[in-house]
Structure formats: structure tokens, C-alpha cells
């Protein structure tokens, strides 16, 4: 169990957070810059500045008390066993890749085999290179291996991709996804990039002005939390698998319980992906239209009706095992006589945000 409670005075606001982190998977700490995300990470990893005296803390990591202001416990950062991948790689400039990645490894009783991770992160060729000889993406890969080899109980990644260009980012994302598939450690990932979040997150903590304003599974939060998708109205996520690539139309066919088409490039067959669709882009009809430009029309079963803060009606329905949301007016709902349990069809365009 990972329990985090911090009350801490920052320059312009009070940081007051309290949350638990699932023992597996990636927990994303999401929020605008300046909302206190990095401060939370620095408190957890023990890197906070000493001048910040006023604080109230309790942090428990796998039954080990790390911080407890009531009992005046504060474990030094080097005894916490929390590894940290920084926004800037922070590789040691006087050490080559091999010396860098073994720095933490030598200082813990690690049961990991360095060679395995070296291979998985494809840095075999870089072992003799010094940081200044590496590209941005390579540096961050080395930095991840270095963190992982210290066999942490918790891995913190603070916007590890934000300093990189688009290509390096795309190249690095699969490595991050693989970390939690292959090493069973909890990961806290900080980001304000929604695409990264959609792709990586299992659980989300949304932060604003020093507070956790919402938290939950990614699929639930997309529907209920406009802060997340930065879009008016709800959005939802469909987990899908690429079943066919239609190159000439720049489309891919996905299986998400039903077969749908989405505009996308650079996808591989059988890729598992997440598709983000805005509820306002989904329309409902009683029978599948015969002559529509809209490519996707799937059968759904209405599960719930909610009125949102703007007076619109949120129709929540099931598409296979997954949830689909449509934002329509009350008037349309009356015309179509929509009610719980009704079988209908949902239409949406092939454009959607893809992880």
C-alpha cells in the first residue's frame, strides 16, 4: 500500500494532497504547470528544500514509514528506495553510460541483471559513450535504465518526455509502457500532455492549485472530468486492437467489441491502442442510416441518462463491454424516446484522438 499525505506551504499556495497509489500500473499525476505536481514528487522522494519547515506529512510505502511529521520521521532520500527519472536526464557527465547505469545498482542489493535491461532498452551500443555524445532520447533511455537498476520500490517519472522532440517521444513511449509490464513496480508519472496520459495511465490523479481535485481510473475520469481532456462536455476512451490497415484511405480498422474505423497513420497490425472520442461527436439514431458520410455506426444499449452542467443530456451506453457516451439535447432525446435499456445505434466520425 502506498499512502501519501502532504500538507506543505509553497510560495503562492498551500499544497494539500492525500491519496493512495495502486501497487501496480502507472498512476499519472496530471495538472497544469504550477499546480504543484513536482513539489509532490520532491516531497515523496525527499528532495524538498530544507527551508520549507512548515509541513505536515505522512507517507507510507509498502508498510514502511517514509515521512511522518507527527513522529518526526523523515527518511533520507538515499534510504527511500524511490527512483526518479527527471525531466532533464541528469546523467553524470564524468561517467560513461555503463558507469551511469551501475551507479545506483552498486548501491543496492539488486537482484536484477543489468544485461537484461540494457538489452530491453537497446543501449548495448551506448555503454562506452559519455552523456554529451548521446541524443536526447538516448539520454532519457539511459536515465531510465539507471533508475530501474537501483531496483526501486516506487518509480517516479517527472515529465520524462517533455524535453524531447516528437520523434524521440514516440520512440520512447513504448519503453515506458513496457516498464510496468515487465517489472512489477508502481509508477508515478507526471505529465500535462493529454496524449501521453491517455496512452500510459491506468489511474489518474488530477491536481490543481495544490489540491487533488479528482481521481480514478482513466476510463471513468474521461467521462466525468473535463479538466482531463480540456474539452467541453464529456469524452470517453475505447480500448481497441488494430485489425486491419487501410493504407489508401489512411484509415485503420479497430476491434473494440464492435468494428470501427479511425483515421490514423503509423499503426501496426495487432497494436493495442486507446481511442479518445468526444461525446459531442457521437450522435444517436434508432436504425443504421443507409446513406451517411459517417463511417462508424455501432449498436449500443443505453445504460444511463445524466443532465450535465450545461443542461445537455449525457447518454451513457454500452458498446460490447465498453462505455460510450453521447452528448445530445433533451429535445432530441424526447424525439427518439431514449430511455434506459433501449437498443440504438451510435454514429461517430472516423476522426478521434488516438494515443
Amino acid at each position: 500500500m502506498i499512502e501519501v499525505n502532504y500538507k506543505h506551504k509553497l510560495n503562492n499556495f498551500l499544497l494539500d494532497v492525500s491519496f493512495t497509489i495502486p501497487k501496480t500500473g502507472i498512476t499519472v499525476l496530471f495538472g497544469p504547470s504550477g499546480s504543484g505536481k513536482t513539489s509532490v514528487l520532491n516531497l515523496m522522494s525527499g528532495l524538498r528544500n530544507d527551508e520549507d519547515k512548515e509541513n505536515n506529512s505522512k507517507f507510507i510505502l509498502n508498510n514502511r514509514v517514509i515521512d511522518d511529521s507527527v513522529h518526526r520521521i523523515r527518511i533520507e532520500p538515499w534510504f527511500r528506495n524511490i527512483a526518479y527519472v527527471f525531466q532533464d536526464h541528469r546523467l553524470f557527465p564524468h561517467m560513461n553510460t555503463k558507469e551511469n547505469i551501475l551507479f545506483g545498482y552498486k548501491r543496492c542489493n539488486s537482484t536484477l541483471k543489468p544485461d537484461d535491461l540494457i538489452k530491453k532498452f537497446k543501449i548495448e551500443e551506448l555503454l562506452g559513450h559519455y552523456p554529451e555524445q548521446l541524443s536526447g532520447g538516448q539520454k532519457q533511455r539511459v536515465s531510465m535504465v539507471r533508475a530501474l537498476l537501483s531496483q526501486p520500490e516506487l518509480l517516479i517519472l517527472d515529465e520524462p518526455l517533455s524535453a524531447l522532440d516528437y520523434t524521440s517521444r514516440q520512440e520512447l513511449l513504448p519503453y515506458i509502457e513496457n516498464i510496468h509490464k515487465e517489472l512489477d513496480i508502481p509508477i508515478v508519472y507526471v505529465s500535462h500532455d493529454i496524449k501521453e496520459v491517455l496512452r500510459l495511465a491506468d489511474y489518474i490523479l488530477i491536481m490543481n492549485k495544490g489540491k487533488i481535485v479528482d481521481q480514478g481510473d482513466i476510463a471513468d475520469l474521461c467521462i466525468s472530468q473535463p479538466l482531463l481532456t480540456q474539452e467541453e462536455g464529456a469524452s470517453f476512451i475505447l480500448e481497441a486492437r488494430v485489425t486491419k490497415i487501410i493504407k489508401e484511405d489512411k484509415l485503420v480498422q479497430l476491434d473494440c467489441g464492435e468494428t470501427i474505423l479511425i483515421t490514423a497513420e503509423s499503426m501496426q497490425l495487432n497494436d493495442k491502442i486507446r481511442v479518445l472520442i468526444h461525446a459531442r461527436d457521437v450522435s444517436l439514431c434508432l436504425s443504421p442510416p443507409q446513406d451517411s458520410s459517417i463511417l462508424n455506426c455501432v449498436p449500443i444499449c443505453v445504460e444511463d441518462l445524466q443532465t450535465d452542467e450545461n443542461g445537455k443530456l449525457r447518454v451513457i451506453a454500452k458498446i460490447g463491454e465498453q462505455t460510450i457516451v453521447s452528448l445530445i439535447s433533451h429535445r432530441s432525446a424526447r424525439q427518439l424516446n431514449i430511455e434506459k435499456g433501449k437498443n440504438m445505434y451510435a454514429q461517430f466520425k472516423a476522426t478521434a484522438m488516438i494515443k
Binding site: S45, W78, F86
Partner: protein, 222 residues
């Protein structure tokens, strides 16, 4: 003709002073580069004082402090049963204070250049603060140390005012190069004065040339 003893006394004084300064200066510079304590500015100012103070002022107060009635002098004679004023040991104390900023400032600057981020990275990888200092900060501060050592040494070699006040000009004990040049000039022995002066000039230039070409950023600042 040229005597060897002032050269030897000078080199001995500069070497010992530099070694002591490294021992004191390193932790002091480390503290200064890391602390957020309010006393930081106070300590920094005290360390930098010899940069602006006339050496005679420093020498005057040292003379008082080192005399048998002075605090340091009294303590010294209590422990070692020898007087401190006009002794080599007294000269070392004076030089250490006088050359302090030339060692502390480059070290502090180079520690600050290594910066918190790398130290923090080391901490999260399980390295304690001493471990981090030894394996990250020290190797990355090599240039800083080189600059500190050369400047500390050279500045001690070139010291005059303080030595004049507290040294006593005793041949083979406290008579250093800068003093003997002064002595020769006073009695119009310009040839001898030239020999020592040219030597010092060339030596100082070489030291500064090396230091500057190593890194400008680490130079002494007020």
C-alpha cells in the same frame, strides 16, 4: 648574489598555506554553496575581506592577535611554549587568512556549477551526501580545485604587506621573496632586486595564464 633561503621559505610558506587552505576551504566552500542559512552572506563577506582590505590593516590586527598578549598568541604560547609573533607559524596563520578568498571562491563557484540537480539524482540512486560529494561533486570540481590551488599558492607567494607587518624579516625563517626585494631596493641593490623580481613576474604570469586558460568562470570575484 642570489640567496636560496628566501626562495625556499617562500615555497614552504605557500605550500603549507595552500594545504591548510584546502583542508579548511573545501568544507567551508561546500557549506557556502549548499546553505540557505542567513549567515551565508555574513561568512562570504568575511572570507572576501582580504580582497579589499589593505594588507597593512590585516597585518596590524594580526600583529596584535599574534602577540603574546593577543588571543591567538597567548593560546599558542600556552600550548607550544614558543612565541607566535615573528615566527614561521605566525606567517602561515596570516597567509591562510590573507589567501582564503582565493581558494574558497573558486571552490564555491565550481561546487555551485555542479549544482543541486546532479546531487539530487545521486541521492535518489542511493548515494548519501558524503558519497555524492566524493563521487559526483569532487570529480566534477577538478578544475575548481586546480584554480584554487594555483591561485592560493601564487597569491601567498606574492604576499607583502601582511608579511612585512607580522613576519619580522628573519633570514631563513620568515624572510620571503617579496621582502628581500624590498630590502635590496632600499639599499639600492637593483641588480639583485631584478633577479628576484623577474623570477616572480614570470612565475606569476605563468600561473595566471594557466589558470585563466582553464576557466574564466572560476576566477575570484568580489
Amino acid at each position: 648574489m642570489i640567496e636560496l633561503s628566501p626562495i625556499l621559505v617562500t615555497l614552504k610558506l605557500a605550500t603549507i598555506t595552500t594545504l591548510i587552505l584546502l583542508l579548511i576551504g573545501t568544507p567551508l566552500a561546500w557549506w557556502l554553496s549548499n546553505t540557505s542559512s542567513k549567515s551565508k552572506v555574513f561568512i562570504e563577506s568575511i572570507v572576501a575581506l582580504p580582497l579589499v582590505l589593505p594588507p597593512t590593516v590585516l597585518g596590524f590586527y594580526l600583529l596584535l592577535a599574534l602577540s603574546p598578549d593577543g588571543f591567538i598568541g597567548h593560546l599558542w604560547s600556552y600550548i607550544s611554549n614558543t612565541p607566535l609573533s615573528f615566527s614561521f607559524a605566525g606567517l602561515v596563520i596570516g597567509s591562510v587568512i590573507y589567501s582564503m578568498p582565493f581558494v574558497v571562491q573558486p571552490l564555491q563557484a565550481s561546487f555551485e556549477m555542479v549544482g543541486k540537480p546532479l546531487q539530487q539524482a545521486a541521492y535518489t540512486l542511493g548515494a548519501s551526501s558524503f558519497d555524492t560529494f566524493k563521487n559526483i561533486v569532487l570529480p566534477l570540481s577538478k578544475r575548481g580545485f586546480l584554480v584554487a590551488i594555483t591561485l592560493g599558492f601564487a597569491h601567498t607567494v606574492g604576499e607583502f604587506g601582511v608579511v612585512l607587518m607580522i613576519g619580522g624579516n628573519i633570514p631563513e625563517v620568515t624572510q620571503v621573496l617579496s621582502i628581500i626585494i624590498y630590502d635590496h631596493v632600499e639599499v639600492l641593490e637593483y641588480t639583485q632586486a631584478h633577479y628576484y623580481s623577474i623570477g616572480l613576474l614570470v612565475f606569476s604570469f605563468i600561473v595566471l595564464f594557466i589558470t585563466y586558460s582553464l576557466n574564466r568562470k572560476l576566477m575570484v570575484r568580489i
